[in-house]
């Protein structure tokens, strides 16, 4: 029998309150007619309308979504291969370095990653003449690089968990390696691939620091627009934006919870 500890439930509740009260406040204030956060003057959709009419913000959002989709897909490919290598290849030359390169971006301070990638792009431009101009391409490369680590860890932990005898059985029955991968391995790690892609997508969509370093004229992402708007003061328009993002994320996560796995594979990051 497990003893029930009431203070544990209390600590958990307090923790959730800490995490969610600010978010609830954002949602509430996005429907406030007043511009001030301290006075509620009535329910209104005016800030959603203002958001819809904010062309610069919408354009930045579309650009960010595009960059996020491309970099999540790139990170999925490279991260899956990296996770596969770490989980299944056993010992190989340079494994320690490889493992370090895969794990380090998870904790690397963003200013270091951003600055070092920018300096790489500048050096490459002067040595091989590419990239001619920094912008969408360089941001995408930077995002693929740091998101790869997250995908690799999720895929690696999924591969480490599952029963290799399934693959061995298929091989015993005469299946070729590629067939085994396509019919056994891939379906089994599909949930990890889905959560890895989503994680990479979200990280890219949310990144301010690395994008600021690696961007160039003409490529302004959503966090960059939000950041400069925030420096001028809070506007309920941004609360409306937050509410929309929260609604989309919640819907996606409820769906993912139904499909299972996201939380359990994330817990091993």
């Amino acid at each position: 029998m497990r003893r029930r500890l009431p203070w544990l439930g209390l600590a958990l509740g307090a923790g959730y309150a800490f995490l969610y009260l600010p978010i609830a406040l954002l949602v509430l204030l996005s429907f406030n007619e007043s511009r001030l956060v301290t006075s509620w003057t009535g329910f209104s959709f005016r800030w959603y309308v203002a958001l819809w009419n904010n062309a610069a913000l919408i354009e930045a959002a579309l650009l960010s979504l595009r960059i996020a989709a491309v970099s999540a897909t790139g990170a999925l490919v490279i991260g899956t291969l990296a996770g596969f290598a770490l989980a299944r290849l056993g010992a190989f030359r340079g494994r320690a370095l490889f493992g370090a390169m895969v794990a380090a971006p998870l904790v690397m301070p963003e200013v270091i990653t951003g600055l070092s990638l920018l300096l790489l792009f500048v050096a490459l431009a002067s040595v091989v003449g590419w990239p001619g101009e920094r912008g969408v391409t360089t941001i995408t490369i930077a995002h693929i690089t740091f998101a790869t680590a997250y995908v690799a860890v999720v895929v690696q932990s999924r591969l480490a968990d599952f029963d290799e005898s399934l693959e061995e059985a298929a091989m015993d029955l005469g299946a070729r390696p590629w067939t085994v991968f396509a019919t056994i391995t891939l379906p089994l790690i599909a949930p990890a691939l889905a959560s890895g892609w989503l994680l990479a997508f979200t990280l890219s969509l949310d990144d301010l620091v690395i994008a600021s370093f690696t961007s160039g004229p003409g490529a302004t992402t959503l966090p960059m627009v939000v950041f400069s708007a925030m420096r001028l003061g809070l506007t309920p328009e941004l609360f409306a934006l937050a509410t929309i993002i929260i609604a989309i994320v919640s819907a996606a996560l409820v769906l993912a919870l139904r499909l299972g796995r996201v939380a359990s594979s994330l817990s091993r990051v």
Partner: protein, 301 residues
Amino acid sequence: MSAPAPVASGRLVRLAVLVLPYAWLAVFFLLPFLIVAKIALSEVALGIPPYAPILRWTEENVLTLVLNLGNFALLAEDRFYLDAYLRSLRVAAVSAVLCLLIGYPMAYAIARSPERRRPLLLMLVVLPFWTSFLLRVMAWIGILQDQGVLNGLLLWLGVAQEPVRLLYTDAAVYLGIVYCYLPFMVLPLYATLARLDPVLIEAAADLGARPLRAFLTVTLPLSLPGIAAGFMLVFIPAVGEFVIPELLGGPSAQLVGRVLWVEFFQNRDWPMASALAVTLLLLLVVPIALFQHLTARRTRR
């Protein structure tokens, strides 16, 4: 008959799996650090890019290597930079400990709740992390600013007669970091606590240990890997944090990430920004290696 070979055993397969991630990370993750180190040793110059090459031809047509240690000398001499490093380390360490104090009971409660409820409870910890980081920091500005929600409440309750300065303080920076990084502490803690065999605690209880003693002698030591992983996941990125001190901290909250940002974007002193990055990285090499060791060990099991 040979034993069934693992899926990825052929040399070609191994090569095919490795070549893309290895090459990508070598070019876009490892190589950049070498370039940062190089530029940290060059002099600032007017031009695009704004630094002087360290290999150049002198007037007598001799190729010379000009290494400028001035940036590092300045880092060591100027109290401003030294203070920024010390402050960053302190803020990150204190924030990580605060995350641990809040996160441990949460992770423990989730790990001890009925198994079918755990995915939902975990999801609730992770969900804020999936929403925009900047917009969550913005929520705290709305709460803490002089005309903010908390001050409104304090004035209304009559606790304060005039707005209390809450935003742009050190406390606001700690609050912001703890708020944003808490999920990174809870997840690894949960992972170790959930794997912990409850039989061990029952055995301790059967042998007469009180719950607190059982916790201190059994649960806590066994969850140390989770504590270490969570601490690193909060501490290392927090040392270089830019957004939170910039938006929630006052002018005194000069952390390394913020100083580096100003050197780069406002002063356009790329060599100095690089020297800051190199020093920060050297400072973090040991914790990062430790973190990598922990992850490698965890996934091998």
